[in-house]
């Protein structure tokens, strides 16, 4: 399985970097890992860096939207950065850009998240 997830806290933003293919199988693993972090109660905002995500289907979309709902409940924000064309296409088809902010790189995204 060529899939990898790494997590990093930058101040109160949890950065989730995904690598490989995000489908139903790998989405379940990502959901579990992130929710474990969120349960600790110290994460305010969530940033997904998808620079090395080569594939995503609607299961990945569902997982992202699920995390979005969760973080909103605790008054946090969520952003996404660094989309490859194939992933961009799925976001576009699904209309997710209407609710999620997308940035070119991590630092821009974090800056925007930290602005009240």
């Amino acid at each position: 399985m060529n899939f990898n997830i790494t997590l990093e806290m930058v101040r109160n933003t949890l950065i989730v970097r995904l690598e490989g293919e995000l489908d139903h199988h790998t989405s379940e693993m990502v959901r579990e890992k992130i929710d474990k972090e969120l349960a600790k109660g110290i994460v305010k905002n969530l940033l997904f860096n998808l620079e090395h995500l080569t594939f995503m289907d609607s299961s990945g979309l569902g997982m992202l939207l699920g995390r979005y709902k969760k973080i909103r409940q605790s008054e946090g924000k969520m952003s996404i950065c660094c989309l490859q064309p194939s992933v961009y296409k799925i976001f576009e088809l699904s209309g997710i850009f209407k609710i999620l902010s997308v940035f070119e790189n991590e630092s821009e995204a974090i800056e925007a998240l930290e602005v009240a």
Partner: protein
């Protein structure tokens, strides 16, 4: 390239979703598709196979998913089939954001994505018998060298 076909069956396990994508993509690569065409095919395979596993068999791994792929010239036909529980209301199922499993964080975008990425989609389903999704797409002719 003439005509060609393959038929693939496998256990309804989520680990096999990635394998199914690779197998279909590798078969289709004989048509010398663009990277975008390959990705679109991988996406629709992933959507339909995941639906069979989650909705058709409700994650009972004893279920079997069947994929049939054929091409004749630049015309590709893809069929994904299960013998699972079937779809009660196909018309609703095809609507964007419609899902019967919101508790599993399904987005309800599977059929919408399949329809958008391919030229043509047909969904046949019978309660208690199973579901069959037929997808067709014409590939760019100028790709087909050899």
């Amino acid at each position: 390239m003439g005509a060609n076909f393959m038929k693939l069956q496998f256990a309804a396990k989520s680990e096999n979703e990635s394998f199914a994508r690779v197998a279909v993509a590798s078969f289709i690569s004989q048509l010398d598709p663009t990277l975008e065409e390959i990705n679109d095919i991988k996406t629709v395979v992933s959507e339909a196979v995941t639906n069979s596993i989650i909705h058709g068999y409700e994650e009972d791994e004893k279920g079997i998913v069947t994929i049939y792929v054929s091409y004749d010239g630049e015309m590709v036909e893809l069929t994904i089939e299960d013998n699972g529980k079937g779809i009660e209301d196909v018309e609703s199922a095809l609507q964007p954001l419609y899902t019967t499993k919101p508790e599993l964080e399904r987005s309800g975008m599977g059929f919408t994505i399949m329809e958008n990425l391919m030229d043509d989609m047909e969904v046949e389903s019978k309660i208690g018998e199973g579901t069959k999704v037929v997808l067709r797409k014409r590939f760019a002719i100028n790709n087909t060298v050899n």
